[in-house]
Symmetry: C2
Subunit: 94 residues, 2 copies
């Protein structure tokens, strides 16, 4: 089984109140490093078998037509990802 | 300016009605390749300057304490990303 990951973010000129709320809350918890926060969506599409170029093309088409609203959102990433816990996985916290 | 990307997904045992709605709608648009869809969140945290190990550690801590609900969600990725749209390449550390 393969997985295709699709990342969708609001266009930079679109106001992002969720991201602003997070950005405003971070300093109150002591995180002063971050000057801006944007919040978007991440989809994991599961396919039977390998993630072929055809599957990626279908995912890209689905991302543009259904997973995002092209008026206000950009598809910023469409890529295959292994199902095994890999380099993308954060360090587990106790 | 650097960007840290944080990916948060519902735990696999948690029902994901948004993902199910997308999975149910895809075949109606002709996308029959995908057997399952899960929808999660993607945060872009902007920092002044380089994304250092310290910044990544702070982002990881923020991800666990504020950007996700550890009861129902997993932080599946915390990584540096260049500001170029679509690029998944991590920024070189100073």
């Amino acid at each position: 089984m393969g997985t295709v990951v699709v990342d969708v973010m609001l266009k930079s000129e679109i106001l992002d109140p969720q991201g602003q709320a997070v950005a405003g809350a971070l300093p109150r918890l002591g995180f002063n490093q971050f000057t801006d926060v944007r919040q978007g969506k991440r989809f994991e599409l599961t396919v039977q078998g390998e993630v072929t170029d055809e599957v990626l093309a279908a995912a890209r088409s689905a991302a543009e037509t259904m997973l995002s609203n092209p008026v206000i959102e950009d598809v910023v990433g469409v890529r295959a990802e292994s199902n095994d816990a890999g380099s993308q996985v954060a360090e587990p916290l106790a």
